[in-house]
Homo-oligomer: 380 residues x 2
Amino acid sequence: MSANGFSFEVEAQDGNARASTLTTKRGKALLPTFMPVGTQGSVKTLSPAEVAGTGAQIVLGNTYHLMLRPGAEAIDSFGGLAEWSRWKGLTLTDSGGFQAFSLSKLTKMTDEGFVFHSHLDGSKHALTPEEAVRIQGLIGADIQMQLDDCPPGEAPLPRVEEALRRTNLWSARALATPRPDGQALFGIIQGSTHVDLRKRHAEEQAALSFDGLALGGFSVGEPIPAMYAALAEVAPGVDPKRPRYLMGVGTPADLLEGIEHGIDMFDCVLPTRNARNGQALTRFGKVVIKQARYVADRLPLDPSCACPACAGGYSRAYLRHLFQAGEILALRLLSVHNLHFYGELVRGARKAILAQSYRAYKVRLMDSMTKADPADMKSD
Amino acid sequence: MSANGFSFEVEAQDGNARASTLTTKRGKALLPTFMPVGTQGSVKTLSPAEVAGTGAQIVLGNTYHLMLRPGAEAIDSFGGLAEWSRWKGLTLTDSGGFQAFSLSKLTKMTDEGFVFHSHLDGSKHALTPEEAVRIQGLIGADIQMQLDDCPPGEAPLPRVEEALRRTNLWSARALATPRPDGQALFGIIQGSTHVDLRKRHAEEQAALSFDGLALGGFSVGEPIPAMYAALAEVAPGVDPKRPRYLMGVGTPADLLEGIEHGIDMFDCVLPTRNARNGQALTRFGKVVIKQARYVADRLPLDPSCACPACAGGYSRAYLRHLFQAGEILALRLLSVHNLHFYGELVRGARKAILAQSYRAYKVRLMDSMTKADPADMKSD
């Protein structure tokens, strides 16, 4: 255990897939895990207890949003993100850089950092490597992410090389900035789908005293097969003594792929965002709830699912009605279902890794997700 | 107990206020009670379990909305409103007439009934006294309401007299229409704020075999003092052997007033609608959560409240943030709080009536709601 109370232990490895435990001063998380996104201090539509009920152990907060509203100092005055939002588990914050670049206007990036204007009121803000640590320190997550330079997926090679150079500058400055006791700091590996750059950057970042290492700059516009190929080459080589986090990824298939290559942590808005668009993700594929085929369907989203929506006996017909009628309960039930499915996926993966049967688990679930048609499912 | 399994028993009376029990084939409700409105088969933002947790025993469904979407036959095929929407308590449906008149266009009312066009797709529908019973029969609520003619609060006397005449015609036709086993039917007393008409209509309706008697046509635009004055004169005289239901009313003060004059049942969208507009109702008055005064307020909405929002420790500052940020969790927490407050109000009223202290209960709560300022409350 390091001085900040952070530790990481691998219990089992199956191929490159790992079952591990992450410990912070505030608690533990069993990995691999999926971290629901609570952008503005709330996993959209759900209560903290409902999020915990899906098996989620860590919730991600977005520094960009939180620093602008309500402000990092306001969260600090409530004892930090978890206490403020009544979340009993662990928390992780991103650095804010990615969203400063993608959401706000007139953003300038130099070696010093970002200068951007709030999308809320146009106010001007600076986000440097030091400031990202200071702000995340106030927000008070268990795990901070360093400020990095994350080019888009189609960026040309020189731009990707620049991102590595700049991120390295920022790594040193982030690590030199004091953090509150009990907060870990993860470094971020860039390099797009260039395996050589990724490997080099993984080495460079691993040489520093980060508590964990993340793969950033994936799922930012590059083709999925290119991401998978790079993941397969790069992820298993990232320092095995530290947790590996694949940022902003992804679909159920992405999680299965990432875990196979040694990824321990994931986050993505997909399960909750798709839920709000009426899409349920199940072991038997997608259920697009507004489809007319569900109008008289008495089955729950997935008859074998134990989530509050499915075990609660809400029929697809009723969910479809709620969604068509614009009722918030539809968004809640689809959200909790999707997060529960993600929770089941990573729990199943962990169990399979411990049993040395991860590959079979992955194949079975991929087959089930791609070959079945939820509309054909019958009750047991 | 009548042939349809419906019964009503008054356990205690304190002045005109009553503590009573209503029994249907499917269950019991202790009165006085407040019935949350689940217009489209869902009490907005909340799960059935959350609604039950506020103490609600009966949920109201709107026939107008449900007959148009998903259709009464669809609900019938799922075993009725409660089973379809996973609500374990009792249900009541209105006749659809009020909303056919207020929500749809080109509505015509004759002695035969209503002809209206759906606000959803323009399709043409007829709602007669017989059809209202048939449709509510399919929706399958424990308690049906007869089709009535409900003029606006400012209607001139001849129009109010016409409403009585027409409603009487429809009473006979509704009662002559067969209903499914286990469904009760309530009659509706009109008369606006004309005490003589109200009293006459109460007698006329009480002469028929309705299972309960409702006061309709209140809170439809008339001045509040006029409503209270009419209630005081009329409600205590409505047949004491049947439950008395004050439709579409109201504020916490309205409930306290109605109970004092012998009303047993209430429904209103106010607690849930105001919640979605950011207004919490508490024993100490209103909390308009977006106000800047709450920006750093660490207290829950009401420190002495046991609802999931208050007992869950959500601060006003956090709720304000969620509301300002457009997060659905804010609407949920305010909704469950407001319904819990209504639940507490009617539970407290029942207890006070049983203890022969209702008047003091009412005065104490009215004083507390009108004289305190929630922002000045301190934690215990």
